[in-house]
Symmetry: C2
Subunit: 150 residues, 2 copies
Amino acid sequence: MREAIRLSIENVESGNGGPFGAVVVKDGKIIARGTNQVTSTNDPTAHAEVVAIRKACEVLGSFQLDGCEIYTSCEPCPMCLGAIYWARPDKIYYANTKTDAAEIDFDDQFIYEELDRPISERKLFTEQMLRDEALIAFKKWAESSDKIEY
Amino acid sequence: MREAIRLSIENVESGNGGPFGAVVVKDGKIIARGTNQVTSTNDPTAHAEVVAIRKACEVLGSFQLDGCEIYTSCEPCPMCLGAIYWARPDKIYYANTKTDAAEIDFDDQFIYEELDRPISERKLFTEQMLRDEALIAFKKWAESSDKIEY
């Protein structure tokens, strides 16, 4: 965790992005590091956890983080928590809370609240269309015999 | 939306990943396309929406999708919905529902439920540590005068 925190401080000092750092650990060793790079790489998905997960998967040659732990300097936002669940590590450790993040104007709470609202009540306009046509892909997937599930 | 659906079907046929496609539209034109590439690129974050958002931001040279619409062949999972909120497009359109996705074993619902649980009750072990040390980065961010906020 101290390395994740060190990365978060360094990221503010370098001006590369927000005050967030994360590392992925396997068998007691750090296999990947990530910092927030949203503004420096023009990538809204480049949060510290997502960057660290992508690098760790590259290192392991796998789309799953079996037997790994993620140390992140701040409680993950919904995007990062979703990414962590898809990557399936064994454990998560975090330091700062989402309340701490909100106090410096990173308002994850707004996204958490939006996810809990019915689609019709969300502030971001969201509408369904063409479901019947889209279901064709799902049927093809269900019938496919050589798919790689995850 | 028909292009997002076409990509989702093509992705099953090519074996590149799950049955999901997405496009980002600006001023009536498609500026980026994405398909699910989790298994083919060993990247658990490479869902169709995340791939399309990253490409669209590259095209626009921006970390925000102002004035854009996202068309996705399936209702976004929590990770993708989080990514969409951070990218801040104007509108989202989707076709298949998360219930349709669960029926072919993509269980976004589990992640939605986990996000709603208090941390101590989640199935993924999650623990806080070293908050006092991590807060240093947040203080430095708050005091920084040349930061780029987002």
